[in-house]
């Protein structure tokens, strides 16, 4: 049963990822990326990481993708005319390099097949909000606070960069 759900979610994730990089309209790309994030959240649930599945949907599919869609609609970019329609050297070379990367990673994964651990017994207790919260607010308290500073700096920096000419009057 779990295997079938994994295959369903994996197919959905790969198909939506392909659709993200192949669709002509930028808005369609962003919406397919949302679908990809939701499928990945399902895979996280299969891995018993409930907290990260919820955070994935809240942060990625919620916050980041809304930001993307706002920027796309703000910029009003026109659709690309030829995405993969005409064969050029650049596309062929890009796909070739990508296949090489995939082959390398899959080879590295496959060569460790027998050494990798089986499902751990503690796996059920690892991904809960309680377990993650306990670790994060004891062992990782300082990095957590630094994250708050990082997000503040990012927001201020983004506002400053996107601002229309800070010194002029218009």
């Amino acid at each position: 049963m779990v295997t079938y759900i994994f295959i369903l979610l994996a197919t959905l994730a790969i198909a939506s990822a392909l659709a993200t990089i192949m669709s002509k309209s930028t808005v369609n790309s962003a919406l397919f990326l949302v679908l990809n994030m939701v499928a990945l959240a399902g895979v996280y649930l299969l891995l018993k990481a409930q907290f990260l599945a919820v955070v994935q949907i809240l942060v990625y599919a919620g916050a980041i993708m809304v930001l993307f869609l706002f920027v796309i609609m703000l910029l009003n970019v026109e659709d690309e005319q030829s995405v993969f329609s005409k064969f050029t050297f650049k596309y062929a070379f890009g796909v070739f390099l990508g296949v090489i990367v995939a082959a390398q990673i899959l080879y590295a994964v496959a060569s460790y097949t027998d050494i990798l651990p089986d499902i751990s017994g503690e796996m059920v207790y690892v991904g809960t909000v309680e377990a993650i919260g306990t670790t994060m607010f004891t062992e990782y308290l300082f990095p957590f606070e630094v994250t708050a500073i990082l997000l503040t700096v990012a927001v201020v920096g983004a506002l400053f960069i996107a601002q229309r000419k800070p010194n002029s009057q218009n």
Binding site: L18, E80, V155
Partner: protein
Amino acid sequence: MLSLTWFLGLSAILFTIGTIGVLTRKNAIVIFMSVELMLNAVNLTLVSFSSFMGDIHGQILVFFSLCVAAAEAAVGLAIIIAIFRNNHTVDITKIKLLRW
């Protein structure tokens, strides 16, 4: 039964699709989305290793990487807006101020 190899393979395929997107597309926003795809693939690797080893620290690392991804998305989209304001395009083949 479902083993760790399947999750790592899915992550590798998603990472590759992101790489191909970065290499082939011309729209800066789509390239940025492909980078997000690659980030997600690496997060999946971390979560699957963390779950299969029964170790929580991998998931904490994924949480921090999510925070960094949020910050990166905000700053990156602001840079894209600034580029669009100066060049009136987000086609990276037409933005050639710093190259020849």
